[in-house]
Amino acid sequence: MSDLAIFDVNPAARIKSESPLSMSRATVSTLRLPQGAGVVIRERAFLGHLVLRGRVSDSAFVAGVEETLGLSLPLKAGGLSIGGKDEASIQWVSPDEWLIIVASGREFETETRLRACLAGHFAVMNVSGGQTVLELAGPAVREVLMKCTPYDVHPRNFPVGKGVSAVFAKSNAIIRRVADERWELVVRRSFADYLYRWVLDASEEFGVYVAE
């Protein structure tokens, strides 16, 4: 009798998979070319999303996570570490919660390695099917974000390498600034269509291009 039931939820054979935004199509007129677009939108679909829970007072937990991912575990609110193996990222969500994003299909392996490395009270939960990443790039992104979230996205408050969960339109999102003019939204599957359409609509005045 095992303590946990962990299994790889991805099929062995290649099948037709659908990201949360596969159904959604741009209903507003977007530009045909990215030139001149104030905002370029792209879904980073099928990435591996893991929720990590644990205690920062447990130094073995912190060390284990860092060793497994090759990334520092952000201990301060808004912290976001990107890079290392798997083009992975780990983000502070709450004092005992982080979001790990790894390359497509690597979530089970990452979870297995984390479990091998960690002991005591912690949890790893796979949420890859439940959310997606929407990338927004371009000079007008900050202005678009101001139409979407009450969180202050000014560079003084939101430097590159920060991420927060906040109200977004009438839903929530994790907002991450990964480069000067490149931001990511982590959104829930069921809200993805609503948020995608919202962002397209809010971007219209600046010119918006949807990239593959």
């Binding site: 039931a5 790889d8 939820v9 949420v127 890859s128």
Partner: protein, 1008 residues
Amino acid sequence: MSQRNRLDHGGRVDRSRPLRFTFNGVAYQGYAGDTLASALLANGIDVVNRSFKYSRPRGIVAAGAEEPNAIFQLGASEAAQVPNVRATQQALYDGLVATSTNGWPNVERDLMGVVGELGGRFMPPGFYYKTFMAPAAMWPKYEKVIRKAAGLGRSPKERDPDIYDHVNRHCDVLVVGAGPAGLAAALAAGRSGARVILCDEQEEMGGSLLDSREQIDGRPAPEWGAAVLAELAAMPEVLTLSRTTANGCHDHNFVTLHERRTEHLADTAPTFGGRRQVRARLHRVRAARVVLATGTHERPLVYAHNDVPGNMVAGAISTYIRRYAVAPGRRLVLSTTNDHAYRAALDWHGAGREVVAIVDARDNPNGDLVSEARALGIRVITGAAVIETRGKKRVTAALVAPIDPVGFRVRGPVEEISCDTVASSGGYSPVVHLAAHTGARPEWRDDILGFVPGKVRGMIPAGGVNGRMALAEALADGVEAGTRALSEAGFKPGGVMLPQVPRVREGRAVALYQVPHVKPAMRAPKQFVDQQNDVTAAGIELATREGFESIEHVKRYTGMGFGTDQGKLGNINAMAIAARCLKQTIPDTGTTVFRPNYTPITFGAIAGRHCREFFDPRRYTALHAWHVEHGAKFEEVGQWMRPWYYPRGNETMDEAVQRECRAVREGVGILDASTLGKIEIQGKDAREFLGRLYTNPWAKLTVGKCRYGLMCKDDGMVMDDGVTACLGENHFHMTTTTGGAAAVLDWLELWHQTEWPELEVYFNSVTDHWAAMAINGPNARKLLAELTDIDLANERFGFMDWCAGTVAGVPARVFRISFTGELSYEINVQANHAMHVWEALFEKGGKYGLTPYGTETMHVLRAEKGFIIVGQDTDGSVTPEDLGMQWCVGYKKPFSWIGRRALSRPDTKRGDRKQLVGLKPRDPRLVLQEGAQIVLERQIRIPMPMVGHVTSSYFSPTLGHGFALALVKGGSQRIGQTVYLPMPDGKVHEAEVVSPVFYDSKGDRQNV
């Protein structure tokens, strides 16, 4: 028509850009830079509206937000209609179409004016209440006529073609008002690098600088203002917003700014490069500090017939002449209590028009401006005031008399002076509205004869609103406020040199509000206090005589300062009159409460992007596209869009649902159950935690098993239910109701975080991660067997077991749980792979009659089994025992689980509590109405005790009759009894109380 009042030179209008517009159907011309009001005045339009109550002809009085009369309907097309536009705040654009909102059939020939004249004597405050009270049934008829006559503007009947939005902003210093104080404050704050927002409601920033005669730092005031604005524009962290009204101030320095982005261009927003532009934008600003530099509104004097067109506030005269190059008349009489208003006469004189007289209420006015007027040879009458004007559609003369402001009497003979324009000034009221929005009461200051803002945390008043009205003082106060705001926001002030202004010596003003008339106020010709709401001095006096002593009551009884006016011109005068009548001081009388919005804001701007498809999020499952493609009708469940039923061909809903029900009972059906809340629980104390939150025991649930659980609040009332599976010793998969998912997760966190943090357990929502497909029906096993590697034999995969395996090649957790009472498997796969599995099931399902079914069929099938839906069959007042679910209550669990203690409260032990029962209508074809009240007697008498209500009711194709679930007092003891359901149409339905389980009460079908 020529612009007969337009001056040949001067002003800030662009004479090379003429613009055409129509007003009440007549074409006119103005210039770029005009407001609609200045263009109307340029064209010599005297009557712009009819008054609200008395239908008196009215003209333009002011030049800004305080204008009470020139409030119009705008829009060339039906869809573009906008009511309540102040002409003084509307920039002229080519093709503008404006109409008066009052006046029927038109402003020049107004039928209601007859009523107004006749009614003069008998239309006191409360006139409509008193006159049209009885009979009540007639009110709708009266109202129609009165409303049409009164005219309140109208909303468009067609869809608004424009888009609007909200922008969230954060700043260190928000400066409201870009007059001298605001500009100085913004400059002081901006130079330090702080994030500064400067907003101003007007087309052009600069406020009073734009029509100032004074010099700043050796150059004309408007030039100084332009230089400051240019400097601010170059600062990257400074945002300047013109045409932007700070319309509401809320807690903790949250200020909403209403920016009109395209309303100066056309009546609908233009597109740029094919992209729709935002017509109006609401900025939601969180400011560390707010500098309130809203200036003052000049108070007109209250004299008889002060509403005849041609009567204006003095400052407006200067504004129209100096800013718009419009002199709105030929022969001016100025009635004033102060020096500052002399500017109007000097500007009028400078425009080459005749100043007939300046009537000063003071006995010995002696400031610099007074001397200047005298030096020009203008007649100055001292110790006197205009007590009445003559004329109907335009002033023809002013009656001037010596007055005693303190004794409130006319003290000498009346002189009639021929003129066409009367300007008046009773002083300057700080624009305290925003400061009052959060509840701070304004404070009276005798030295300035006005209210200044009460203290609001984080808000710093500067300039005129702070009682520092002279230009030099306003600038200095602005610099000081900007600097203070900055350091309070945590910045080091950069240096700002105080701008130098030559001093103008001003004499002290005298307190005068209502001007005494030779007749007592109640018998004098109407002296208007609030022209927008047609409130007179006599009306206020009458209100105080009728016993209204609180200024708030006087306001409500008279209507003074109501609606879009918010007491801008009239408020202080009204208080002064009330104070005089009540024989008390103005500060004792106090002010009324100013409320948002400062000026009207369109619904579009309030809604922003939150309308139409974005009004509320719509949540979709991973299978939504399939449902759409297969013709599903959808039902909104919370924010989820769930398939309701899947009509085929011309099927009605009833037909579709009956077909779907039969398919499940006889073959196999499939439901998209993805919306059910799912919570993953990990940790060594997970089992203990479940035992504390659920009513039933969890200690012995083994790995591989599922259990239904009820959750109560600590008051013992059911709040949610669902099946939880034991995945591992320390690992559980909880399901919740669709609507309760978020609340249940919060509920788990609440208890964990606040009461039992020592329990080692973590929860996380996996609702969206798993897609869930429930296949139900006798053929379910055969269908699934074709696609899975799981051994489906009943002995190895029994009812309430779960197994992991693959379905259609996709790793899955399959739960053998049933919400229909049929053999059922709920397949959970990672949502990205759901469509593949769903389609694979249909590929194999044809031969078994696989039928998709929606929520309606789900409801019928579950109700046949007596399965409750929390929130439909319960309402927060229902215990597990009321539901007859004692089998789901762990009376012997060691921990006093949430809700346990409450079940022994006397109230929850009552035998006559409402309990869940089934109802079988006597008429088998009848489907009872959900919500119908239940009584025990056929004979209806009123009142009679109601013993319960129907919670769920359907027609069952399986049973062949209608059936219902109901909550009935003492219901468990009433099985077999007959109850009655009186309906609004007089019919009384009859039903038998039965067990809530209508179908397969032993549960054989789900156990096969």
